[in-house]
């Protein structure tokens, strides 16, 4: 490696702050005066503000993206707003600015977030039009956009973490949008708590990395490296330091608890990503998150927030490529999740739950992509998934709205004629997610599968990961076809009245058409060379991942990689053919089985009651968590409460009693000795007074006698003294 890769050129861009600022302003307006506006001017004013700010943000983002794209070399647009965090410790000083950076990876995310976000905002104006707290919905949606943009544009771990927590908060707020219903409020809480578990790992990884960059632990004490630079959490700086061979060797040799620090922190970061991106074992919150309004599911729980974990792993590519273990963990967890969640999608009866498990499964794919080192493929799938999954969710939203908020498949069927726009776009997204050749999902998914098969650095052989992925692809095709069949085909199961009144609003169909169209053709940017394309998407992201790509090749050669080594286009085409064949088989099977409506009872009979029961109940994972984690935890809190009540309070009360006793003794001393002295003095005075009192007879003559005697004595005294 002869240093062919230089750090990207930094270009200051003073307008970057506007991108997150607009939605923040929208949030501030709707949060403060939204309720009044809605009452006085109607809902139009509320969504006017929300849409204007989101579209303004989209416009500025477009300018930033254009600037990134128009430079031939890899540039990073940067803007430093103000010095943010600074502290000193043992001669090390950390200073972090509040800064934004937009490189090519961020540009992709910016496009996904602002573009899909804007479309979903438009859709929401239709879907949410009957909701009373309309302003609250849009305020939180705008706040979410702000947090998500900070997440993707943040220049450092901490900036990213601010956005990371911000989107978590908005997710919670929007899942619990219908907070009057206890189960929906509980779903929000569940999402929040599960995410906190992941976030803890994120913080731990961040702290570990921060210190490992500048020092080591010896005997439990931190020792700064000789001549170390200032600690940093800025992504580009960390990467630039790793480019230095001497620094990198020293850094990679560091261990904590016997594990290489890079592995430990990468695994911790990935655990954080598991929380946010709903991977095993923390995926359980996402299906429950469907309690929120459907546009929220589309924006947060399909297109943007849940992909933050994938984005983070891709962003940290320069770290991950140095830890085979961490990469393997990412790829394996992704593959397992992809397959596991796909099977749960089989028998769900709630249209949104099917899509939720589908999202979990597709996120697994993305993690497979970034886990096997195909970072751009993972991000490509992230983008295409944002198109087709947002389209599917909005389509389901359109159905749910038309059916008066009924979302069970038993009430659907035959909606093809009633909701034609929804039908066609839903179908487009379905073929895209199933991976029918030519659609966006086909290109991104097969890119991942091919790279997984071909990779030489995961500890688990690439073929196994590929097998998981390709089986999951078949399952995906199956359950998505089942979903489409049960929704749009067959005889309508909704009542006449509902069907008669069902209609599609333009505000809802336009986003559907745009997203459906992109789901079909959005893959053209990433047509692989094996199919005569040039994979422009990968080339676009190359500057971001080039260095780690080289490191990866070098590491896998050094480690005697066991990749299939099918570095040929023919091999890729064969794998594609297999994947497509399986997907088509899945579709055909589903079409055969679901030609007519199958209730859960029918399905149980069809597939075997035991299997159906286990899958229908999602492998009893929630129940397992409840019994294995939540209940023991609650028991622990109760025990802690009891401990508090009896032991802590006991000690406190004991202290109180001891004080009381001391005070009593003290009081006794006071009473006996101090008061005694005072009283004795007083008594003596009284006694003396009583005695002297006898002199006062009240008899006039006694007094006169006294006077006479006194005067006489005085006279004698004067006479005697005069004589002397």
């Amino acid at each position: 490696m002869e240093g062919a890769i230089h750090a990207a050129r930094e270009v200051p861009a003073g307008y970057l702050f506007l991108i997150p600022l607009f939605p923040l302003v929208g949030f501030a307006l709707n949060a403060t005066v939204g309720a009044t506006l809605q009452k006085r001017l109607g809902r139009g004013a509320v969504h006017g503000i929300a849409l204007a700010t989101v579209f303004a943000s989209l416009a500025v983002a477009a300018r930033a993206i254009w600037e990134v794209v128009s430079h031939d070399d890899a540039v990073v647009l940067t803007q430093t707003l103000w010095p943010w965090i600074g502290f000193q410790w043992k001669g090390l000083s950390l200073s972090l600015p509040f800064a934004f950076a937009v490189d090519r990876l961020t540009a992709v995310m910016l496009f996904v977030v602002t573009f899909v976000g804007s479309l979903i905002h438009v859709f929401s104006t239709g879907y949410m039009q009957d909701e009373k707290p309309y302003w609250r919905f849009f305020a939180f949606m705008n706040l979410f956009m702000f947090a998500m943009l900070v997440l993707v544009m943040g220049d450092s771990f901490l900036m990213m973490f601010v956005g990371w927590e911000g989107v978590g908060l908005c997710s919670y707020l929007l899942i619990s949008y219908y907070y009057e219903e206890p189960d929906k409020a509980a779903a929000g809480m569940k999402a929040f708590v599960v995410n906190r578990i992941g976030d803890f790992a994120f913080i731990a990884g961040m702290a570990l990395l921060l210190w490992a960059l500048v020092g080591t632990w010896q005997d439990g004490r931190f020792v700064a490296d000789a001549g170390s630079q200032a600690p940093t959490l800025v992504f580009r700086e960390i990467e630039a330091r790793l480019h230095d061979d001497a620094f990198r060797e020293a850094f990679l040799a560091k261990t904590a608890w016997g594990v290489p620090v890079v592995t430990l922190s990468c695994v911790l970061f990935f655990f954080g990503a598991c929380g946010k991106s709903a991977q095993i074992p923390l995926y359980v919150w996402l299906p429950d998150a469907m309690a929120g309004p459907t546009p929220v599911s589309a924006l947060i729980h399909a297109a943007t927030m849940v992909t933050a974990g994938v984005y983070m792993v891709a962003r940290l590519n320069f770290l991950y490529v140095h830890s085979q273990t961490a990469m393997t963990v990412v790829a394996v967890v992704g593959a397992l999740t992809a397959l596991f969640a796909a099977t749960i999608g089989f028998f769900q009866t709630d249209i949104k739950k099917v899509l939720a498990y589908s999202t979990v499964s597709q996120l697994g794919y993305m993690f497979v992509g970034v886990g096997v080192g195909a970072f751009s493929a993972g991000i490509f799938h992230l983008m295409t998934h944002a198109f087709f999954k947002a389209c599917l969710f909005l389509g389901s939203g359109s159905i749910i709205y038309a059916l008066h908020h009924r979302q069970d498949l038993k009430d659907m069927g035959g909606l093809r004629r009633v909701l034609p726009a929804t039908y066609w776009t839903f179908l487009a997204a379905t073929v895209a997610i199933a991976g029918i050749p030519g659609t966006s999902g086909f290109f991104s998914k097969d890119e991942i599968l091919w790279r997984a098969f071909d990779n030489g650095q995961t500890l688990v052989s690439g073929e196994v990961i590929w097998l998981f992925g390709v089986v999951a692809a078949m399952f995906t095709a199956f359950y998505m076809t089942r979903l489409a069949a049960l929704t749009f085909f067959g005889t309508p199961r909704a009542d006449e009245h509902t069907l008669h009144h069902a209609k599609e609003y333009k505000r809802m169909t336009i986003p559907l058409w745009v997203l459906g169209g992109l789901a079909l053709v959005g893959g053209v940017v990433g047509v692989p060379q094996a199919l005569g394309g040039s994979n422009r998407f990968e080339h676009f992201l190359e500057p971001v991942f080039a260095w780690s790509g080289e490191r990866l090749v070098w590491l896998s050669e050094e480690g005697g990689g066991h990749g299939a080594g099918l570095h040929s286009h023919a091999g890729e085409v064969v794998l594609m053919a297999v994947a497509v064949g399986l997907a088509v088989a899945g579709i055909l099977a589903a079409v055969r089985i679901y030609r007519t409506y199958r209730s859960p009872e029918d399905e149980a009979r069809l597939y075997g009651a035991g299997i159906h029961r286990v899958i229908f109940h999602k492998y009893f994972v929630d129940e397992g968590y409840w019994a294995g984690v939540v209940r023991p935890f609650l028991a622990l809190t109760r025990a802690a409460g009891a401990f508090d009540k009896f032991v802590i309070d006991g000690v406190v009360n004991l202290c109180g009693h001891a004080t009381k006793v001391t005070a009593w003794i003290n009081g006794g001393i006071d009473r006996v000795f101090v008061d005694g002295t005072v009283n004795a003095l007083a008594t003596a005075t009284i006694e003396a007074g009583q005695r002297v009192r006898r002199l006062q007879t009240g008899r006039l003559q006694a007094y006169v006698t006294g006077i006479i005697v006194g005067l006489s004595g005085l006279a004698v005294l004067v006479y005697a003294l005069g004589r002397g």
Binding site: G698, R699, Q701, T705
Partner: protein, 102 residues
């Protein structure tokens, strides 16, 4: 016999002592007042005697007249008190009236 200052002084002293004894021994409040009058008049005799035989002039006589006036005023007040005591206690025995000790 030539009457000298000494005779007057002895008379006045005798009168003073009698008044004093009267004051200290009589139970009757009126009697006590009489004792007071005797003492005052003993003083008057001295004043006049010293004026006549001593320094001359009328200062002594003037003082004596003052004392007589004072005695009259005092007696008025004292008799009023005695009357009030009689009204209250139905007696003028000063030994009975001993509430001054409180």
């Amino acid at each position: 016999m030539h009457v000298t200052l000494t005779h007057f002084l002895v008379l006045a002293a005798a009168l003073f002592v009698l008044g004093l004894i009267n004051l200290a021994t009589r139970r009757n409040a009126i009697g006590v007042l009489l004792g007071v009058e005797l003492i005052l008049n003993a003083a008057n005799i001295n004043l006049v005697a010293f004026s006549r035989y001593g320094i001359g002039g009328i200062e002594g006589h003037a003082f004596a007249v003052m004392v007589i006036a004072l005695a009259a005023a005092e007696t008025v007040v004292a008799l009023a008190i005695v009357l009030a005591i009689f009204h209250h206690y139905r007696t003028v025995d000063v030994d009975e009236v001993s509430r001054m000790k409180e």
